[in-house]
């Protein structure tokens, strides 16, 4: 009996010893949180900056200041991951890396992420008491984004009509069908599909009409999600003309078409959806590299997972 107890005691000591040594060795691999110098800090009213600093800056700026436990492995690995991920989405200390239109869109995205409870991250809020954004602070952020220039943007330019034949509508045109850097093509036959959604995107001054192919349309009619492979949507985007005296807003200049096509295997990295955008009357494919669509899925994944990552479908 005494001998058994002694063996168990030694075994326990051995395990503890191994854990302690492992823990110490782990610290040598612990990432060091680096704060590069700011290139251009976001400029916002003081009440907005206060909220951003208290709730967002630890991951989305070059002023990260993790608590002591966040600098010790293994927690430091998670903190480092979250900071790198946060900065890659947007960085308040390098705010000029995005053009003004994108800056505004990011701010609206932040408001939505906060309103849906997706941000700040739950695991961050749990350990940082003052980080959660209150209803009053969310109202301040909403008021702010509604004051941005894009909110009341009006297309006053002369409406330009296409001079070339529509792409893909003849055999001769078929070879001119634009293809996105990630391989997603423009679908010229979308004009024969059915319309599922008409929108006023007042945050940036555009209005949209969304077309769905038969597979997608049938899935919506039968309330079927996730949407099956072969589902396709094309969203046509225009500027908004000045509202008339009856309150009517009409489409201005054509801006772009945006495409989503479902193929769970081909687009596994982007939740089964292939994304594309074709800009202007020339339908120029958007994106410098094939992974431009990571920006698309980041927002869709964050804010529309319950809709199979689609914003523009009719939901209750």
């Amino acid at each position: 009996m005494k001998k058994t107890r002694s063996i168990a005691y030694c075994r326990t000591l051995l395990i503890i010893g191994v854990l302690v040594v492992g823990f110490v060795l782990l610290q040598f691999t612990s990432p060091v949180i680096v704060n590069p110098p700011a290139t251009k800090e976001i400029s916002a009213p003081e009440e907005v900056s206060r909220i951003l600093k208290q709730s967002c800056y630890d991951c989305h700026s070059n002023a990260a200041n993790p608590a002591w436990y966040g600098r010790i492995a293994p927690v430091s690995f998670l903190v480092d991951h979250d900071i790198n991920e946060g900065r890659s989405r947007f960085n308040f200390s390098e705010w000029d890396k995005n053009p003004p239109v994108v800056q505004e869109l990011l701010l609206w995205e932040m408001v939505n992420a906060i309103e849906q409870g997706k941000m700040p991250l739950a695991r961050y809020s749990l350990l940082h008491n003052g980080a959660r954004v209150s209803a009053a602070d969310l109202a301040i952020l909403k008021k702010y984004v509604n004051s941005l220039p894009g909110r009341h943007k009006v297309d006053t330019a002369r409406i330009i009509k296409p001079t070339a034949l529509p792409v893909g509508e003849t055999d001769a045109e078929a070879s001119r069908i634009p293809v996105s850097p990630n391989g997603v093509p423009y679908y010229p036959d979308y004009k024969n599909w059915r319309i599922i959604s008409i929108t006023d995107k007042y945050d940036g001054g555009s209005m949209r009409v969304v077309y769905a192919n038969d597979i997608m349309y049938s899935a919506i009619k039968s309330n079927k999600m996730p949407f099956p492979d072969g589902s396709k949507m094309v969203k046509a985007v225009w500027g908004k003309q000045q509202q008339d005296s009856d309150g009517i807003v009409r489409p201005g200049n054509f801006q772009n078409v945006q495409v989503m096509v479902k193929d769970s295997r081909k687009y596994a990295a982007t939740e089964g959806w292939g994304f594309a955008k074709f800009d202007g009357l020339a339908l120029k494919p958007y994106g410098k590299t094939a992974i431009f669509d990571r920006t698309c899925i980041n927002c869709h994944r964050l804010l529309a997972p319950e809709n199979d990552f689609v914003f523009n479908v009719p939901t209750k």
Binding site: N112, I198, A236, G247, K316
Partner: protein, 153 residues
């Protein structure tokens, strides 16, 4: 043995609950299909809080692409109007919600070479919930004919 079974079942239940994804409820009742006509343009009505899609047959579409506004015999139009609703998942966009009304207009050759307009109004689910107000027939016909086609490449 019973402990092993209990743990296995618990883990299996936890795993299956993690796998089940909760999806939103789609609203197919917001869809309205217009057969035999093509989209002309979308319209936002900020006074009434509505959003619309105007469709037309080939003659109507051609007329809507013309720089001169006129009633062309043979033109058929459908104007579908919905109440706007905030897009779930994106504050910053309003989209079509409940159907407010469906209006149709058929233009034909009348007497003395004057066009004849057959205008019909059908109230949608959203319309019946507000104070009933008969549409001004003449005003609505002009409104439909006045719209120019949205540009698409």
């Amino acid at each position: 043995m019973s402990k092993i079974i209990f743990c296995t079942i618990s883990i299996a239940l936890l795993w299956s609950s993690r796998q089940q994804k909760k999806y939103a409820n789609l609203a197919p009742e917001y869809l309205y299909e217009v057969k035999g006509q093509k989209p002309i343009c979308s319209l936002i009505d900020n006074k009434e809080g509505n959003i619309s899609m105007l469709y037309g047959n080939n003659i109507a579409l051609h007329a809507a692409n013309d720089s001169v506004v006129r009633q062309v015999p043979g033109a058929d139009y459908t104007l579908v109007t919905w109440k706007q609703k905030e897009m779930p998942g994106w504050y910053g966009t309003n989209m079509n919600g409940e159907i407010y009304a469906v209006e149709t207009l058929k233009v034909s050759q009348g007497e003395k070479q004057q066009p004849k307009s057959d205008y019909r109004f059908k109230a949608g689910k959203a319309y019946s919930s507000v104070v009933v107000r008969s549409p001004d027939r003449g005003q609505r016909i002009h409104f439909i004919i006045d719209q120019r086609a949205a540009i698409l490449p």
